[in-house]
């Protein structure tokens, strides 16, 4: 009961802050509001019993992102150019995406129910992994064998990000010299 109340209150505040972020024109104020959003979100995660996610959200969202945004602001301007005209297409895409997500939500198992697939399938990895894959470490077996493609995709993303950062840094340094 009290949990529900807290969740609803936090969600209402989150909604209000989100609208504020969209509407505010000063980018500096937007950065501050993004920090507020992250703190509220992290609190919500704690209420939902996802303490580790809350920790990450607070560290990345409220801590590092704020500093990164400020660094970007010091390189650019602090005021967003006013939009010339209202565009319907982005709004349409956003509404359709939100509708699809809400529609998909209705198919999810009930929150906290023991019938969730995560509790029924794959709970026997400890028994299965050794005869099936021959890898002694269960974590390695799941990461490299059962979810091999997943891990390959993650590695590709990290690799691409590293390459991009390297390319950016190299160009900056070359400009400094010339």
């Amino acid at each position: 009961m009290i949990e529900t109340t807290v969740t609803i209150l936090l969600l209402l505040m989150l909604g209000a802050v989100t609208i504020g972020i969209v509407r505010v024109r000063g980018l500096f104020a937007a950065v501050v509001l993004l920090g507020v959003y992250s703190f509220l979100m992290a609190t919500l995660f704690v209420v939902l019993d996802a303490v580790d996610v809350a920790m990450t959200e607070a560290a990345v969202g409220a801590g590092v992102s704020t500093v990164f945004f400020l660094g970007a602001l010091s390189l650019t301007d602090t005021v967003e150019a006013p939009g010339k005209r209202r565009q319907i297409m982005p709004l349409f895409v956003a509404v359709v995406t939100a509708g699809a997500l809400l529609w998909g939500l209705s198919d999810l198992p009930e929150f906290g129910s023991p019938d969730q697939p995560i509790h029924r399938q794959g709970a026997d990895y400890l028994v299965r992994s050794m005869p099936e894959t021959g890898i002694a470490n269960v974590v390695s077996a799941v990461l490299a064998s059962y979810r091999g493609f997943d891990t390959l995709g993650e590695t590709t993303v990290v690799f691409t990000a590293g390459m991009g950062i390297l390319a950016l840094l190299r160009r900056r340094r070359g400009e400094g010299k010339s």
């Binding site: 104020a29 501050v32 507020v36 703190f39 992290a42 704690v46 409220a62 801590g63 704020t66 400020l70």
Partner: protein, 92 residues
């Protein structure tokens, strides 16, 4: 008792959110952001005791530290217009 305190803190946070959204100057928003961070810590602590698991108080400490770092970075940006790049600016 704890539930009442929790609700009171949440109502206070809602008021501060209003200030953060309307705040005429950026400093109002900044102070509101800091207060919301404090409110989040309080909610965390109260919720922990409410559900009988006060182990997550450590998380509150982390929030406090992050709040400090964030506000410090923002204020430094305000003072110098950049994130401590005076030495670089002199060098180039």
């Amino acid at each position: 008792m704890i539930a009442a305190a929790l609700l009171a803190v949440l109502v206070a946070m809602a008021l501060v959110v209003v200030r953060a959204l309307r705040g005429p100057t950026t400093f109002d928003r900044l102070l509101a952001a800091n207060s919301i961070g404090n409110g989040a810590i309080l909610v965390l602590a109260l919720f922990g005791f409410l559900t009988g698991r006060p182990e997550f108080l450590d998380l509150g400490l982390t929030y406090a530290l992050l709040n400090y770092v964030g506000i410090f970075a923002v204020l430094k940006f305000f003072r110098h217009g950049s994130l401590g790049a005076e030495a670089e600016a002199d060098g180039t």
